[in-house]
């Protein structure tokens, strides 16, 4: 009896602590949302208020009508989609043979991919700038796609390898028995089974490109600059237009958050998979 009651008090304490933690964690982003729907003049009021006195879409109108943001969103989206397609196209087959056909070359290859994740982007950005310059690809969509792919391929390789670990070798053998070549077995039997893992990997590579800042800063300018660059420019070009900045930040981050919530289970699985299996 005593034991049960003590457990209850413990339970209440744990619940309260978790609630406080989660709330304090969510508050900053909620404040961003609240600020973005204030009238622009109220954003800079002293002292600041957490909730808007009146709800207004003025900030959103401002960034959508009179700024470089819509065009930048188009750039961001194009680059992220192309990066995802290119990264998956090269990483999925490679991850498959790296896990199902172990050889010295495949082990070395995966190790190289892992090491690549440690390379600071600024170290790679310096020579990439030169490489793209000599190819005439500075400030072009293909140029930025290539740069983003250099970061997305290692990520996609490691994620896909973790997913392919779970595929039994018998699957391919059975297909070979039925007269498929190795390529056919991969295309017709393996890929359909792996569609969930491929989707999670696609989402991760998409977000990697969507969120990327440094390469975009180095390698693009007027023609193809992406959304984060334009948002950062609000700092300097427009003085400190906090209202517009918060609206732009919401437009830029909310879609990703909504998608994350929808696919939360798979995402957390994909994220913790490799780390825990170790």
């Amino acid at each position: 009896m005593r034991r049960a009651r003590r457990f209850n008090i413990n339970g209440i304490l744990v619940n309260a602590a978790a609630l406080v933690l989660v709330l304090s964690y969510a508050l900053p982003y909620v404040y961003l949302l609240m600020t973005s729907i204030k009238p622009a003049a109220d954003v800079q009021q002293i002292p600041p208020s957490f909730l808007p006195a009146v709800v207004s879409l003025e900030n959103f109108r401002e960034v959508l009508q009179s700024s470089a943001l819509p065009k930048a969103f188009a750039s961001s989206l194009t680059v992220a989609v192309l990066t995802t397609l290119l990264s998956l196209a090269v990483a999925v087959p490679a991850a498959y043979v790296a896990t199902q056909y172990r050889r010295r070359i495949t082990t070395l290859f995966l190790l190289f991919a892992l090491v690549t994740r440690m390379v600071p982007s600024v170290s790679l950005g310096v020579p990439l700038f030169q490489l793209l310059k000599s190819l005439g690809l500075l400030d072009t969509i293909p140029g930025l796609v290539l740069a983003h792919t250099s970061a997305a391929v290692p990520l996609a390789l490691l994620l896909m390898s973790a997913f392919f670990e779970g595929v039994p070798k018998e699957l391919e053998e059975a297909a070979r028995m039925d007269g498929c070549t190795r390529f056919q077995a991969f295309r017709k039997i393996i890929l359909p089974v792996m569609i969930g893992g491929i989707a999670v990997t696609a989402l991760f590579t998409f977000i990697t490109s969507w969120n990327e800042f440094l390469y975009a800063l180095l390698l693009t300018s007027e023609a193809t600059k992406t959304a984060p660059i334009v948002i950062a420019e609000y700092n300097s070009v427009y003085g400190l237009a906090w209202g517009a900045m918060t609206a732009a930040a919401v437009l830029y981050s909310l879609p990703v958050i909504v998608v994350t919530l929808a696919l939360q289970k798979q995402i957390v699985g994909g994220l913790t998979f490799g780390a825990v299996k170790g």
């Binding site: 964690y25 961003l32 310096v126 020579p127 250099s150 390529f183 969120n211 930040a249 990703v256 994220l271």
Partner: protein
């Protein structure tokens, strides 16, 4: 060469080509450039200077300071991220009614673009309208909202800019730790309880040793990421005030873009790369391998 080998090579080839062109070749170019005096705008005009760029970088006060700041930032951020994240994971796994809802909220920051996290925290900390100080006044911690100038005080700015990092990545630590905790066999903890181990002892002798590989992965991944940080800090302060929040990655960027010195930027970039590799290798041998032995 057998058919099987051909298949393996065919499947690997595109990825090899991409990584070769976009990672291996640029890294080679980086090292190559680091031995020349060369300008960013005219990379075809170059003069061999041997190790001069390295000597300049290693003897420059500004470089040394930015390296030190990178270290301060990373240690500070990693310590709090890990403390908060690990405690959150323990809380979640202690919740009787499964902590789905809490973990959902914790998933969000995983996907918030770093640039938005930086912007948001700048907005929370900025002078005059930063709501955080008003909150602290409310709680009675400070008397005047101007008491702490988070982003303009040169002594504390390097720690202030890491708040955004801590906020953004605590959830990563929490979710990975949580997944690790749920993988610990229940009967082990139960056996320890029957043997009379109290909660703390169970944590210390059962949970922690089993969590070691997971903790190692978190520390390696996060330490490398924190040391590479650029965007989070850039959006908050652009390295200011007076370079007080200029970390190493930013220093390299500045030297390449603002001063147009490709050679020196390459030398620093190469040093940065080597240090990161050594760091990761050390962490791997020291923490991860013993756990798998």
């Amino acid at each position: 060469m057998s058919g099987e080998d051909r298949f393996v090579l065919c499947m690997l080839a595109p990825a090899l080509a991409i990584l070769g062109l976009l990672v291996a070749y640029p890294v080679g170019l980086l090292v190559f450039d680091s031995f020349f005096k060369v300008d960013t705008i005219t990379p075809h005009i170059r003069e061999w200077v041997g190790l001069k760029n390295y000597i300049d970088a290693l003897t420059s006060k500004r470089v040394a300071e930015s390296a030190m700041r990178t270290f301060q930032y990373s240690v500070f951020a990693l310590f709090f991220e890990f403390a908060f994240g690990f405690c959150a994971a323990l809380l979640f796994s202690a919740l009787p009614g499964r902590s789905r809802w809490h973990r959902t909220v914790f998933t969000l920051p995983l996907m918030v673009p770093p640039i938005v996290a930086g912007l948001l925290w700048r907005f929370l900390l900025v002078g005059n309208i930063g709501i955080l100080n008003y909150g602290l006044v409310h709680l009675g911690i400070i008397t005047d909202p101007d008491a702490i100038a988070w982003l303009s005080d040169e002594d504390i700015v390097i720690y202030s800019v890491s708040f955004a990092d801590i906020w953004l990545t605590t959830s990563f630590v929490a979710l990975v730790s949580y997944a690790g905790l749920t993988n610990i066999p229940r009967d082990l903890l139960e056996a320890a309880r029957i043997d009379g181990a109290n909660a703390f002892k169970r944590f210390w002798h059962v949970t922690l040793p089993l969590m070691r590989p997971v903790i190692a992965v978190i520390v390696i991944v996060r330490a490398v990421d924190a040391a590479k940080t650029f965007d989070l800090i850039w959006i908050q302060t652009q390295g200011g005030p007076n370079h007080a929040s200029e970390v190493f990655s930013m220093n390299i960027y500045q030297r390449m873009v603002r001063f147009g010195d490709l050679g020196e930027a390459s030398a620093s970039g190469t040093l940065f790369l080597i240090v990161m590799m050594l760091l990761a290798a050390a962490a791997y041998w020291k923490i991860w391998r013993p756990a798998h032995a």
